[in-house]
Symmetry: D2
Subunit: 354 residues, 4 copies
């Protein structure tokens, strides 16, 4: 069987998560979020975020969570500001627009690969200054929120100062800051990460802590750190088809993820192996694409090398760079092993020598 | 611990389903519906429905599935005809309207308890005749589909002739017939049921086969029996936030449910016990509310009796009938045992004697 | 040429309105609501409503105004409560649902013809009590507003006590009361009307004062009596495609309508003639359908009589009553003349004698 | 009074249009598009477009027409491709997204001022090629239509070859081409315009012929040249709040505009004067911004000159170029006179000399 670096969601659940599901299967429970595990998981997340008042709800998937939270925090017709590579802009099939909200694209004024999917404070401020000064602004989509991803689509991280800057601007202009944390575990586990979960929760208006890509079978935790979820948020979840009848499924898993440091361990494990992978690629002389410090590594590979690697490994060909080279993505997760990485390292060394 | 007849989704997964999840957890797989178990489950559902061309997709929950399928089969702004007790009308928090589709209420012209949440052929035809004859019909919401539930909200069943009648009218007027099968297992398991899954699939345009309430942890199978799902249906699922990243979660479970007659066995087990419950209630002299032949039983209980029963049992007080009596709902599932039912039967006999 | 009682919008503008358009045509002006006539008309409406703080905006048509105001005052996904004959329920092609808002039907518990399209205080209170007591209410569409029409679809009027009762309930439950005044001029002109425009404006949260059906070529005045239109209401109008570029068109007309008592005179003229019509029908022995006191009169006519009348008159056959009789609607407006009514009166007398 | 070059909709109706409204005011008519003038105007537009089968409907305003037509021709959730300066992207307050449709931005790869708001065939083809080749395309918004404006926002024109190229690509990829003709009269009147109305109608799937900015008080003609408007298009118009009750208002005006070559004459008059304006600016040594050949002229003026001009003229300061210069817009229309233009010319000459 080939070794897969395809994604962090082509495996099952982390064994500790699965065991918890098995262990609790026979206990009857409340439904629609009222089960005891969901309650317990909420408490643990309130603790981990340092937000005792936090409103926490568990939804099934990422696009759903983005669409539900943004629809909840935006007034009707308001837009959300995002960078052109944002998941909500590119890969959610119009889920945001389906609720009538425009994704307002913030142009990148720096253009370097590393920054390319990180929003800059300067660009955001410029946009909002221009908007405010525009005499025709009432004819435009009113911005109501800012969307950022931690880590970014390319695995990079905002500095604490950058997030603080973005958050300050949001507050100045009356916008909500929403953080997509689909792969948050991998950001927090990075040595480069200047903040922890609690700091992050105190520097946004809403966020989600990803489960699906961080060791669960499914599930994302929507968090309003200050407990100020919009009125009727439960009904909003239901209206978006995002309310789980057997909410225990998410509750049990998040209870497990936030017990015994599991979420941190999953993140650390994957990031360590990803950095090892990165080092293998660089040792073998390949150019990395972007400066990812998390569990996704992007590397520029000659197409001939790709052909050889695909015989033993599964990974994504992200996008063609030119006729001879392609940006490829290698992803680690709880299920990646030291052996998987070592094997790839050895093959890279061998191929290069050839 | 109290014995629960509260619902068919306050338990975990049927053991056979859970075992399959455990057994497959370590195998890597495709994502977003491309995993091998989803493929296998699709094939089994095509076989079970006798529809080799069927398009089958797995979504997380019921409201989500209703909203996604109806949005897919309705033209923009078209409405769906339903009875006033329909789940999409009452208990989906506006998920259908969220896509711009009106739920068009069909008034019930019979008014008996047993029929009260079954659509009648006569009422449907009358509505469509009137609509067609109305010179202002272009100012009204155009009907595009008919929504029925099998079994109904009160656990009753349409006859084959009724479904055939409704389907014929739909075809005559160019509407789609969509069947909500959240508890389909329990309809098909009833001795009163005049049709099987294949017959049903041949008498509608779209349907969903419920998993969450029939032994799975989550998951509903959206089925277009003739394979004629609307163009870009995959994107529609994604847009509704209903696409599972780790689609294996649903795939494995439906693969299990449609192996070795498990879906039928779950249905049969629950219906048998429900009928036994019904018989206990009737023996004890209580009036049943509606003529449910499936796994939900509705009974009129004096409030004093309810007080005594709640000491040992969990069940839903459905709606007050008058100052002294309440309609109560008792639900069975794969996890209900013979002992649970016998216990309640004994208590009913005792209470009555008292 | 036949005499038309077909509707109050199959004529042009009242001559005084048209003259004002001609007189101002050559003056350049502001646009998008900033023209001087719109400003002037706003001031006059603030005066007429006794609401010096009122926010007033002019939109093109009735359905558009209902959809825009309701979308503005409802939170996302909230519903609006209305009676089954409400214009937003029946004749707006899903414009309310198009913004994701359900029309929540309030069942009529009285059933008499006269009341049939008036909401009762009792029914509204009952609905909201039941909703509040429902443990599953979070799964339902949250009511956010109440919609009533003055006069009703059948030309009848609420008493002041009824509107006060409805408004009090709205305030108690935190709902907005919105009044559709498409034909408001004819309500206010009725001798049976217990309130004036200012009283009405003080007993609702939002309303619209109809122009199209009351002497203008187009135009409706959306009014927030307390000036508390939702944030970004201008953008909401624009988003609904309801912002007039040449806003002068509406401004000039409303300026004219609210000058020299014209709006009152148009209403009075039409109501006087409508009551005369009603008296002709009753003298001739026909049964009226409902107790309209405004400019629309509904009468039950034998089909044979209809055949004769249609030779000289245009009117709407509202709905068949039985095989031999039809409810017909006769409407008066600024353009109806004494001669039109006298002619119909004479013909009715003649036909009856025959 | 200052001379206004502010816009082509800050005046009233062209006298011939106004006269027609006055002349027909007393005639009763059909409503909701069934009046005789609307019928007549439809016939004239069918003739002018050389499309005897065309479906023509009259709506109140431009944003409304864009939103209604795009919602009609797009499948649910589909997006419309447009350039970043497109009116639907920038100045319609989210009206397109309000129906759930994304505006997909086509990046401009040429970057010259003249082209800056014209879509290029190359860019469009590149986008669609990339989209088709993208393995994740089902996760993206599906493109369903292309939106272009004739003339462009900056007053420039597509060549016939360019429109043909865009239309061919649309047909190849199964997209609809929709043309926003808010100022179409001024495009067709330009000497640089390589096509007439009929040619244009034969090279798109839907278009609108602007009335509001071309001599009417309000009104836009939505045209489906081949008569293949989507099913229930009338209801779609109604749902968008875009159906005029007194449709005669638009019907009479378009009947007038398409009689005796009035639409052409209005266009020609304004374009002639605009080119004269342009020539005055260039003679005076100012740099034009873009190569507008229609009734909007954009010129780069020193702020000091602007100060002097605003004493006698009204015009829009479009956007700041740098600290000392601003792009200004001067617009002509039916109401602009030779004297207006000559006066500005003289002042420009004087100011320069100074």
């Amino acid at each position: 069987m080939k070794i897969s670096f395809e994604s962090d969601y082509c495996n099952g659940a982390h064994p500790a998560v699965l065991n918890r599901l098995v262990a609790t299967n026979d206990e009857p429970s409340g439904t629609y979020g009222s089960d005891r595990w969901s309650e317990r998981a909420r408490e643990k997340i309130r603790h981990a975020t340092g937000c005792p008042q936090a409103r926490v709800e568990f939804l099934a998937g990422g696009t759903q969570t983005n669409a539900t939270i943004l629809d909840a925090i935006l007034a009707p017709g308001e837009g959300v500001i995002a960078v052109p590579t944002a998941h909500i802009e590119v890969h959610e099939a119009g889920a945001i627009e389906a609720s009538g909200h425009k994704v307002i694209l913030l142009r990148d004024s720096t253009g370097t690969v590393e920054r390319h999917d990180l929003m800059t404070v300067v660009d955001l401020e410029q946009y909002l200054d221009d908007f405010t000064a525009d005499p025709t602004r009432e004819h435009r989509v009113q911005p109501g929120a800012v969307y950022i991803t931690v880590p970014s689509e390319l695995g990079t991280l905002y500095t604490a100062a950058e997030i603080e800057g973005i958050y300050n601007i949001c507050q100045h202009y009356g916008l909500k800051l929403y953080i997509d944390g689909a792969r948050l575990a991998y950001a927090l586990a990075s040595n480069e990460c200047e903040y922890d979960l609690a700091w992050l929760a105190h520097h946004c208006d809403a966020m989600y802590i990803g489960g699906t890509k961080c060791g669960a079978l499914m599930g994302e935790a929507a968090v309003f750190p200050r407990g100020d979820a919009p009125r009727a948020f439960f009904s909003t979840i239901k209206r978006h088809g995002a309310l789980l009848a057997k909410s225990r499924l998410a509750g049990v898993q998040f209870d497990a993820l936030f017990s015994d440091g599991l979420y941190e361990r999953i993140g650390r494990h994957a990031v360590d192996l990803a950095l090892e992978l990165r080092s293998h690629f660089m040792s073998a002389g390949y150019e990395m694409y972007g400066a990812s410090v998390t569990n996704q590594q992007f590397v520029v590979l000659p197409n001939a090398v790709i052909s050889q690697l695909t015989e033993r490994y599964i990974f994504e060909q992200w996008e063609p760079l030119d006729n001879e080279r392609t940006v490829c993505r290698f992803v680690t997760s709880w299920s990646t092993t030291d052996e998987d990485v070592a094997s790839l390292g050895a093959d890279l060394a061998r191929i290069v020598k050839a």
